[in-house]
């Protein structure tokens, strides 16, 4: 087997284009993912057309909240590109210079102050269905954040007014009464006056006013909490049941490494065994009785070759991405185990594909056609499709190595669930199954 392995490595070394592809491909993927993750803009680039009058405010009780605070909140959520007109904003969106545009209408303050009409913003965006979905969700999130922050400003102003009403003092607004007594101080002040009053009608009226002031003070102090509750009625507190919280960027690294491992492994293994047939060497190697190598030996050799090459490349890729994304090198032993088991399963699948396809081009095509949709299916999240269809996807993903390898590597890199041992066992079983299928396919070589 060692001579056959040497022969394949020699052929691989002389296939310059293939070798170049095998080396360059993971490096390019690693760099692309690394740059994409480390240099991605944290805020979307959005054109903003502010048609509201400068310095415009809305009145909250005796206080005034400037409308510009809303635009400032919005600017902090996006990478704002101020533009003068709606037409200019449309042109910028169409050219792709900005992801979307937000038009703040001139009557925003009037509508906010009216207490009848809700203020409205105009959002302009472009692109295909996927882009539209991304822009909408990104912008909805940014607008929700800005809305929340602005409502907090209004709530704060309302809270200040309530505080002055309760404790007394000045509202700080021109034209508002100075040195207000405050509802909480009325009962003690009024109590002394009532005590000095003779019994009669006036005293009874003063006692009624005193009782009302006490009642109002107690209830208004609750109003502040009510305002907070209305602005954000439900807070979300999430708990992860299994494993560690996986950051999206390290999961993307795992997906990229698994994809590269799969493509290199399946293509190399399928092409390797198909090449033996294409060069008419298969019958000489494993002829019925004059076999120079056993069928099992040939399958093991091709699996070892593809898995070895893909393992080295995938590991190098993980290490390269590690320059951009923080990976826990203390878990490197687990990475190696996950990559090794995954590579073996993918290579066994590749050998089975190569045996089935019989010639190199057909093997490569079949390997691509089989691998990519299966990888795509394995990445479909639960809940994004109907329950029945997801069960079918799960069943299909179970009999191919991509999902198991992804789970193993995710656990090895991110300590995610399920346990690594289960995934490795799954991969070992798939290696055995695809190896057996390849062996059946090699029954007749004539």
């Amino acid at each position: 087997m060692s001579w056959l392995l040497r022969k394949d490595l020699l052929i691989l070394r002389r296939s310059r284009l293939l070798l170049l592809l095998l080396v360059v491909y993971p490096v390019v993927i690693a760099l692309l993912i690394g740059f994409a993750l480390s240099r991605a803009p944290s805020r979307p680039r959005v054109a903003i057309v502010d048609q509201s009058a400068p310095g415009e405010t809305i009145a909250v009780g005796g206080q005034r909240v400037p409308v510009s605070q809303y635009t400032q909140q919005l600017f902090s959520q996006v990478q704002a590109v101020p533009v003068a007109t709606r037409e200019q904003a449309i042109a910028d969106v169409k050219s792709g210079d900005v992801l979307a545009a937000v038009v703040i209408p001139p009557d925003i303050a009037a509508r906010l102050a009216s207490d009848v009409q809700q203020s409205q913003l105009e959002v302009l965006y472009n692109g295909d269905a996927l882009e539209q979905s991304l822009v909408r969700s990104t912008l909805d999130s940014a607008l929700a954040h800005a809305n929340l922050a602005f409502s907090e400003q209004i709530q704060k102003a309302a809270g200040n007014v309530l505080g002055t009403l309760l404790s007394g003092g000045s509202l700080g607004t021109i034209g508002a009464p100075e040195n207000l007594i405050g509802l909480t101080r009325i009962p003690s002040t009024l109590g002394g006056i009532v005590a000095r009053q003779p019994h009669g009608h006036d005293r009874k009226e003063l006692e009624r006013i005193d009782a009302f002031a006490s009642f109002a003070a107690q209830n208004l102090s609750v109003a502040r909490h009510v305002l907070t509750t209305i602005s954000q009625p439900i807070r979300v507190n999430s708990t992860l049941l299994h494993g560690r919280r996986t950051p999206l960027n390290t999961f993307a690294v795992v997906v990229a490494a698994t994809l590269s491992l799969m493509l290199v492994c399946v293509l190399l293994a399928a092409g390797g065994i198909a090449l033996e047939r294409e060069e008419h060497a298969l019958s000489r190697l494993i002829g019925t009785r004059a076999a120079l190598i056993s069928r099992e030996g040939l399958i093991a050799e091709k699996t070892l070759l593809a898995a070895g090459c893909a393992f080295v490349l995938a590991f190098a890729m993980l290490a390269a991405i590690g320059a951009f994304v923080t990976l826990d090198w203390g878990r490197v032993g687990l990475w190696i185990a996950a990559l090794a088991f995954g590579a073996a399963a993918f290579a066994a699948l590749g050998v089975a594909v190569g045996v089935l396809a019989r010639e190199v081009r057909a093997a490569s095509l079949l390997a691509f056609l089989l691998s990519l949709p299966l990888a795509f299916l394995a990445l479909v999240p639960a809940g994004s499709v109907s329950g029945g269809f997801y069960a079918v996807i799960n069943a299909v993903s179970f009999v191919f190595p991509f999902k198991a390898c992804l789970q193993a590597l995710d656990n090895a890199v991110n300590d995610a669930s399920p346990a690594l041992g289960l995934s490795l066992l799954h991969l070992a079983a798939l290696t055995a199954v695809f190896g057996a299928l390849a062996r059946i396919g090699l029954r007749n070589v004539e």
Binding site: I11, S15, E279, S283, T288, E446
Partner: protein, 264 residues
């Protein structure tokens, strides 16, 4: 001279198709045996069964152990390094990205030849390809590729060499060089069986002729005997073969047809 190869009652079925039926003959050391017949006669099937590439449905192929005659027990092909049949398929089974010497060295190691470098040097010398030893096979002409293909079949010095239409894609000059090489091997004691559609080639080089048609062995004898039996006055083996097959055409498809005329 004792037989180095015995084919006893070999048959091959592919589902309902009977590709070979009850083929029996023996080959002695140094014999150059041509297997001729029309397309679909079973020539390639017979040679690949002899080489051990395919298993027969019926009968057995028995090889002599080194230094002994043909045994009567179970087939020994593949069980003894010395007892292998060298195989040269019609399409050269070579790695085109490897050089001539690398191809020979690889198969010398896979065949577990005692001294691989010596075996490679010997085959390069015998095939006249020493000057092109380091050249990738992809750059060789069809003739030279076929010589390397035959050399691979001979790298382990097998007592029997089976070649499937070895000269099919060669020009006259290349054919001439190939036959010089094969005749020299036969003279050295290797039994050579080859299939061919070029009957004049069989007439010129083979000492024995096996005529197959419809999966049956119709004739087993020397080219001269064949001419005497079925030939015309011109002494042309090709004309004789066409006439012979035409006369037996209705019977050739029937089970057992012509087998009585076979020598072995």
């Amino acid at each position: 001279m004792s037989a180095v190869l015995r084919v006893s009652g070999v048959g091959k079925r592919y589902g309902a198709l009977q590709a070979l039926a009850a083929i029996s003959f023996e080959v002695t050391a140094g014999e150059l045996v041509a297997v001729v017949g029309p397309n679909g006669a079973g020539k390639t099937t017979l040679l690949s069964i002899i080489a051990g590439i395919q298993a027969p449905s019926d009968g057995r192929v028995t090889l002599a152990e080194a230094g002994s005659g043909v045994g009567t027990g179970a087939s020994v092909i593949g069980r003894s390094k010395q007892a292998r049949v060298g195989w040269a398929p019609q399409s050269p089974a070579l790695y085109s990205k490897l050089s001539v010497a690398e191809n020979l060295a690889l198969f010398a190691h896979l065949e577990r030849v005692a001294d691989p470098p010596a075996a490679v040097a010997r085959m390069l010398e015998q095939t006249g390809l020493r000057e092109r030893a380091s050249e990738p096979v992809a750059r060789l002409s069809g003739g030279n590729r076929q010589r390397v293909n035959v050399a691979l079949g001979l790298i382990a010095e097998p007592p029997v060499l089976a070649l499937d239409e070895p000269s099919a894609a060669l020009d006259p000059g290349q054919r001439e060089r190939l036959w010089e090489f094969l005749v020299a091997r036969a003279a050295g004691g290797t039994a050579v069986l080859f299939s061919t559609h070029n009957v004049s080639e069989a007439q010129r080089y083979a000492v024995r002729l096996l005529v197959l048609a419809g999966g049956r062995l119709l004739f087993d004898g020397t080219p001269r005997e064949f001419l005497l039996q079925g030939g015309g006055p011109d002494g042309d083996l090709e004309h004789a073969l066409v006439r012979y097959l035409r006369e037996r055409e209705p019977a050739a498809g029937a089970p057992g047809a012509g087998i009585g005329q076979a020598r072995a």
